[in-house]
Symmetry: D2
Subunit: 333 residues, 4 copies
């Protein structure tokens, strides 16, 4: 059961509610986000929740049977929008593109890609400065200085930034330069990181684990929400299967299922989802057709020379074609 | 290497070709389909295939490095069309719908569904009469008498039939009543069945195995082609993964990859691919967006009472809506 | 519910039983095997099965909640033994080795391997004459003539034969030359083949599907049993996973689970289970430690020259060492 | 290529070596562990490494083609031992048991379990104080105070502690109370954590990811080693597959493969590997038979009342039986 309190719930009203819960042996976890105040309770099935709904100080109350609570659509039927400021809003019915290189490499690289995004009316740029790499000997990104340079260039052109955060200690140094924190597939169940991201007021996009279930993804999102941050997005990026013609197997089923089970926006990552440059557009279009709220695309002016993931980066021409196709299909849908 | 012979290749010309192959120690398998005559050869890399291409009696010659040969696009760049007669053609750019119940149940059932197909201008009806079932105690279909009844009703209304064949001995009794033989996911590597389907002149749609790879599917299709039957379609129906919110995980990546690697039409099976009625439409649309040449959909006037697979059958209203959405999207693409 | 009838159940006794079932609306499937007569019934939970157990003509009655019935240990608690004649018995506590090449290749090959088996006191030889191959262009085995030669040599030396049957039409021609029919991983759900193997009185070893579940394997065994053949063994041969350092992932968990859920013998196939020659012995020993009733091992005097699967065949020296290790561990257990 | 320097390599010798590398355009990463000094180089295939081996100051040099370097057996053929002090050594040929509850719950609980370990001559106790949990609302462990209590009790009885560390900031507070840091399956690719564990001189046991490959596990171990800590163990704990009769599928193949590819000790976790109490013993014995160097077992005096993982905890009687069986099998092997 989720109880949402009125923003002006008085101490006396609260006392009355606590007493009622206590009398009925109902345990609760208290949650304060940037927007609201909730009590998440584990409930005896027979309890009549209208007893609570009728109390003063309570805005509403819902029974949620899912293992995740605050991210469930059982509680909140209206789809969540994420407002990044300056008119950039991620929301249902408005398929949002995010695009950019795998890694931030240089000032010139960022400038050229920003120009291309502006031309195509794309408002959010991706680009990693802290790169999780399987091998300790691989390029691990430009770090915080790279992020500052990335931010300086984007800010002046009205472009928002989505970039990966890998550990708790990075949050503070990154927070002023990031519009969306991305939690990568390898960190989906890095619970300390999730907890810590709950205490900042910056949107978070959380990727499904490499072999993570739908349920695990939503419970990981619940970590962030229950730690205080409602500005959340989910990202499907392909799962690991036995097939090795492609890097990952994009799970198109996850798109409608996540939309059904949660009120959070669902973003597709076709670049990692298939990992083959010439097919990224088909998977992006399929995601849109299946109901995704946006897509994050890897692109680079010279994919062959990218520091990482070159095989799945679109070049500028391919990117423009994709934007056009998406615009046409978005219109229709 | 694939050598395609001229249809009027003379014995002398053939003799000359055989001699050349022999002199170069090239082994070959001779293949005669309903349309053409081929020699599939395993080739030493250094051999110059133009020596063969210039011979009289040879129509063309191609090097094919894939493990499958005649179904590869390396050999035949033009996408294959399958003509079912009466103007029903499965081909690229003409997303073809096949629809109907999981199992043929009764005369009344077939009649009602045929009526619905006619209304929606759908020309191909699915329906099983031999049902592969995990348990020996489950309903196994109406058998050959059910097929005859099914055929009688469809024939009079101009509807083509796609239905599953489970074993070699069924081919002969079924062949006069079937427009497309379906090879089910459990029989994708039933090699004797594949061989036998090579010797009939009826189109075959072969489904990917439950955990079959792309390569295995194409090699299984190669079995049928190399046994003499070029009228082939591939079907993606979802793979088995760790996720159990849905029955199977529809592999959207397989659509563009199969189209890239093979010249055969690619059909999507969203009903088995997600296995949840209310999301079948999204997966069907996604398949179309990703480049599929058609889809096979389970539908029934009363899904709740279907003998099998009720949870993934669309009802008539849902089916009509899907047809409309597909028509709109097909237009755009 | 499984009702086992007395072998001398009289028509009057049977009539009384049928009447009781009818009066209680209990549907039943009648099953006659080479040993016994059973009625498998779907049961209303509240029905008191002692009403049936007390009837004359009924030997015993058990409730079985598993999806499979006659192969379940819920019904038959005593582990099944398979007697191949001449003192060769597959049974619990007597880890049985089967060994031999992937494919039967020649008379000389069989003779040399038979000699080696005799030396090591191994009584069952494996060897394929009908080979399921992913590609139609691969070697498909010596066929029925190869089997006759194989049989002639083994018979004279007291060696029993286990070999794969791929389709219904092969059963009749093979039946006189085979001691154990093997159903391969690709045919685990070839239900017509399973049905047909129910009507012969020859033991059958059924392999788990490439991505088959425990439940599916047991239901496939149920097909054979319910079609009349109780002489059954189960075989774990590894499943397909994302890992590609090895060919398959041997599922050691399946050994104790199959022993818990079914009364049938469980055989391990470490050769396919790991697919790497130098580690086959470790997986064989692990299977024994985990409770398997036997193992089937690929071996060849010259693995490098084997027609198929050379990378996972033991040579004679490696085989002897394995036999010694197994004998020592068997002693201990 | 790995160059190991002599401990007393002089500045002049080092200068000579650096010059040689520079002249040959060989890039290197310098690594200083608690024991040795290495240079890991990416090498042009044609370079003759004997040129380096002959230099003064160089102890030895090896070519390593694996993606991981310092953890590879290509470099170090002798199996690594981990000395925990007080005569407790984890090494090949000495199957080491670690056992204890999933979570540390109370002083009484620790005391009772320590007693049981002492009786069975088991020297290492497991027990979580920081618990990674899918849901934010689950019990997350007693934290650092629990660890201090745990340590106090173990210390006095000569028992070593293995416990999970979840994030960088915990290392410092835990380090004085821990004998082996465990990296859990969800953190196998938490690269910042791995880096940080490289800078402490405490042994680390790293678990394979939930769907992690062999290669990824070894590269993760490489992170720790290359950050300075050679005291490493690998742990196989089961992978996620489509089978849901058991929680995970224990990958027995991984045992011999990890032993082949790496010089590090390999520990089995049968409790998570099958997740079913009554079969934990079979998987433990199988691991030993397959060549594991130890096992970590969950046990509790009242599994039904354990705070977490009760379904896979052995009770004391089951644990004693397992210890006896392991002792007998260890003897044989």
């Amino acid at each position: 059961m989720i109880i949402q309190l009125n923003t002006n719930c008085s101490p006396a009203e609260r006392e009355q509610l606590d007493q009622l819960l206590k009398n009925n042996n109902i345990k609760m976890v208290e949650i304060q986000t940037q927007f609201n105040h909730y009590l998440v309770c584990v409930l005896n099935k027979e309890y009549d929740i209208r007893n609570i709904g009728n109390l003063p100080g309570v805005q509403d109350v819902h029974r949620v049977t899912d293992s995740y609570k605050l991210v469930s659509r059982q509680w909140k039927n209206i789809s969540t929008s994420i407002d990044l400021g300056d008119g950039v809003v991620i929301q249902e019915g408005n398929f949002t593109l995010m695009a950019g290189p795998c890694s931030i490499e240089s000032e010139e690289q960022v400038e050229r890609i920003v120009n291309e995004l502006v031309k195509n009316n794309v408002k959010i740029m991706r680009g990693g400065v802290f790169k999780p790499r399987s091998s300790p000997y691989s390029f691990r990104g430009l770090g915080i200085d790279g992020l500052k340079m990335f931010h300086a260039q984007c800010k002046s052109r009205g472009i928002k930034i989505v970039t990966e955060v890998m550990q708790v200690s990075q949050i503070e140094e990154m927070v002023d330069y990031v519009d969306i924190f991305q939690v990568g597939a390898r960190n989906t169940q890095n619970f300390n990181l999730l907890d810590a991201l709950g205490s900042v007021d910056v949107p978070v996009m959380i990727k499904r684990g490499i072999s993570g279930t739908i349920d695990e993804l939503l419970q990981s999102a619940e970590y962030i929400f229950s730690a205080g941050n409602e500005k959340l997005m989910l990202c499907e990026r392909g799962i690991r299967t036995f097939e090795n013609v492609y890097r990952n197997t994009f799970d198109i089923n996850a798109i409608p299922i996540l939309k059904e089970k949660s009120h959070l926006p669902v973003i597709a990552d076709p670049s990692h989802g298939i990992g083959i440059r010439k097919h990224v557009d088909k998977i992006a279009l399929a995601s849109l057709a299946a109901g995704a709220d946006g897509a994050i695309i890897e692109m680079h002016y010279e994919p062959e020379r990218a520091f990482s993931d070159g095989q799945q980066n679109l070049n500028f021409e391919e990117f423009r074609e994709l934007v056009q196709k998406i615009n046409m299909l978005r219109e229709l849908i």
